[in-house]
Amino acid sequence: MFFKQILSNIKKNRKDNGLFFATLLIAIVAFYTLLSLESQDVMRFLKTLEGDAIQKLMLLVPLIYVVSLFFVFFLVYFAYKYQMENRRKEFGLYLMFGMKRGRLFLMLMCETILNSMLSVFIGIPVALLLTESISLTTARLVGLGIIGHQFSLSPAAILGTVCGFFLVQLMAMLILSIHFCRMEPADLIRAEADIAPKNVSGKKGILSFVFGILFLALAYATGVTLLNRFEGLPTLLVLVFGTLGTFWLYRGLGTFIEHALQARKAKKSGLYTFTGRQIQENVLNQHASLAVSSLLLLMALACISFGIGMGMGRTAADARACDFSLMGSEEEVTAFVQKKENQDMIEVCYPMYIGNIYQGDYTLSATGLVDAIKKTPQNDLRDKIIENLSMDDNYLHLFPVSSFNNLLASMGEEKIQLNDNQAAFYSRMAADSPNYLEIWEAALKSGAYAEFKAPDGSSKKVELLPDVYYNNIVADRAITLSTTLILPDDLYTTLTTPLAESKASMADGIANAGEETSGMADVTKSSDDYDDNDATIPFAWNIRIKDVIVKNEGLLPAIMKMDERLVQAGLSYDSYLGGIGRNLFYTVASSYLSIYLGVLFLLIANTVLVLKYLIWQKMNRRRYLTLMMLGAEKKAISLSMETQIRLYFLLVLGVALVNSVFAIWSMFKSFVRLPAGTSLEMVALLACIELVCFVLVELLYIYIVQRKSRKEILSLHVSERPE
């Protein structure tokens, strides 16, 4: 009998309360999505490349899981509270009919457990479906589609989800059951709980409101001006000012509404005063939870923006210059490249040379560069560049133009044409910093030159071409060169080798290598001569895989195949895959997790808002009945209620939006950097899409509440007014 009753209760509750069940499902999906991260396609792929980093990331998952548990607890708590408030009369009657408190408690707990089981049975397949589609989508987005999707049912994740879900449910229900079972039957039977109205104390409220705004302004100012990196003090200041400001603002908002209402109500009629008072009372009674919801929404927006920003920053990877850079002697490299099976795959193999000015012979006079830079508008970065250029010339690296042209050719770009008195400017920094690129482009256009002074007093002057080159010269980001000149081969040899040595043969060697853009370079040096400091020895051998193979097999599988062969050959190398792996890792780690948290916060904040409003509405039933008895039409009451809902959401959303504008602004100004070349239109477009999605989600929630409330109003009938 007891069990039968529990079952019928569950059935009834489920029918009455779609929102409640939707909330429970959200909780399950949230847990599973997080816990199954490890078995997602992208993660499985990354494990093969960046095992250590993934391991570290996976250590982070439990932490985020605990954070999720904490927030989902509130979600479940409010969902259950809403349900219990709806059922209080029923509990009162049970007690009056002689049910023991202990038994009522037992009944509620049994219901919770059965409910949880049911939710798990529905929720897990939903979660699986969702994670599978996320897995497929991300795999597609990052170009892993070819690797082959694997159905990723993760037993550990299911176990974690179920345990976490039950824990959260039982805790929420335990607290609520104890509260409700302790109440007197008479209090329970009265269908509505008492609303304890709070009085408006004028001065305190206004003070709180003013301080709230002041603190928020301080937080904004600190965030935008002081927050440069994720530093301790400014971050702490922003957090403290922002949180305090938001809480105080909401605390004082009730008084503010009082003043606004007093000023305006004289000329109004209808339900204007009532609507105003309802909102005011809501704010006065729930200012803390409004503040928390608003902050949660802020966190949601910030997390999602951060995720998108990071994702953008990393997915805008470099154009593929080459697939592998081998570090080894010519013999080793030649042996590998000339193997039949490898030859079939390799489109081109060419050496890359990097050199410095040979110490003690020539010196660089940077006057021509400094003067050109000085013509650009003054800023910190420009001054830094000038300072660097004015130091000794150790920083300066040199490329022979033929070697660099090989790289350009293999990428399908136009070669650099230099005459004897010309040079080109290369800086890898220009790829990462748009400001750096801008300064150098301006400087080169105004006409820059470099001068090399020989010990005998003679000098060689080269004019710089107006373009800045910043292609990656190896497969991964193994080296970063800040200031490099691309020189004619002869000049390169002259500057990088001791004056005493014979130059001609060197120059020939390099020139020959330069001509080989297809197949192997004509290698004449023996491995004994290999020396890291020797500018005439290639720094690395770049290999590019045939486009046909890439097209047929896909870039990643092709690279992975070659990767295996290189490992077998025992060569040390740098691969494009490493770059992709690192990019992917950052994309997944930062974007995925922060977007996950963002969406979770968004769901929780909104659900809490909705449920709080609906509980509130339930308590107001009697008021609406009185209004009807006083001659208010249902339509007018509905309108008033819709205005209340809109304003209620607007109060939370408005503050959250203003806060997040500043939060995102300071975030992108400080620790999130968008990659060079990200157009303002793109950023604006993404921001707009995010905002539109956010607004749509909120409108959906507002619609749900309004529909539910309207239904409730329509169901009211004056005759049910309790006597």
């Binding site: 009085n199 000329k267 009629s269 209808g270 204007y272 001659g631």
Partner: protein, 259 residues
């Protein structure tokens, strides 16, 4: 005495449920209320007196019969005209006050006017004399939680009278008040009735409260069973009270004893 019939209740019946399980709350009740009358309706619990009042207030629809207010059939009211009837033509005083807790006294009082499009500042003009008469000027800016039960009920009374309705319906208005506050309220109501010619219909089972009325209908098992009329010229409230008590005693003994 004015013989203008403001409310005509014609043969109304109210049955709850259907078929064999039906219960009759009212069966063929008819009476008129004259303008300026203070009519009491007395009866034991379950006698049907609240159902009767609810039918007049349009909170319930009678199963059969008609109720006319100033000659208009109130069961024909729907939508706007129904809202207008509730807000303008009748005032209602509840046992449990039914003030909105989050509105100040003055906001509560002028709500019926507000609901019918009167601007708040104009409505507040109408409020001042009424507030003076009911002795609630001090609490006008207070919220219900800051008032005593007596003050709350007088605020509720002000709300019932503010729109100058044709008739005020009061359902056990002293039910939640102590005797002192009950007396104050009844005194104020009867002054409003005598001086301002306000028509009041009050349901009560308290003989003391009923003794303020000018006429009392006794209702039992859904029918009007007796009527008492106060002789205004030569009857004191105490004498009227005794007559009421006699009827109540006879009610307990059954209809055979009553003349």
């Amino acid at each position: 005495m004015n013989t203008n019939r403001i409310l005509q209740v014609q043969n109304i019946s109210k049955t709850y449920g259907k078929g064999s399980s039906s219960t009759t709350a009212l069966s063929g009740v008819s009476f008129d209320v004259l303008e300026g009358e203070f009519l009491g309706i007395m009866g034991a619990s379950g006698s049907g007196k609240t159902t009767l009042l609810n039918c007049i207030a349009t909170m319930q629809k009678p199963t059969s019969g008609k109720i006319l207010l100033n000659g208009e059939d109130i069961s024909a009211f729907k939508g706007k005209s129904l809202a207008n009837y509730r807000g303008n033509k009748i005032g209602y005083l509840y046992q449990s006050f039914e003030l909105l807790e989050n509105l100040t006294a003055s906001e509560n009082i002028i709500l019926p006017l507000s609901l019918h499009g009167v601007r708040n500042q104009d409505a507040e003009q109408a409020l001042i004399p009424l507030a003076k008469h009911l002795d609630i000027t001090d609490v006008l800016n207070k919220f219900p939680t800051q008032m005593s039960g007596g003050q709350k009920q007088r605020v509720a009374a002000a709300r019932a009278f503010i729109s100058n309705p044709d008739i005020v319906l009061a359902d056990e208005p002293t039910g939640a008040l102590d005797s002192k506050n009950a007396k104050i309220l009844l005194d104020k109501l009867s002054v409003l009735n005598r001086q301002e010619k306000k028509t009041i219909v009050m349901v009560t089972h308290d003989a003391n409260a009923a003794s303020y009325c000018s006429r009392i209908l006794f209702i039992q098992d859904g029918t009007i069973f007796h009527e008492l009329r106060k002789s205004i010229k030569n009857e004191t409230p105490a004498m009227f009270y005794e007559r009421i008590m006699t009827v109540i005693a006879q009610l307990g003994g059954g209809s055979a004893n009553v003349l």
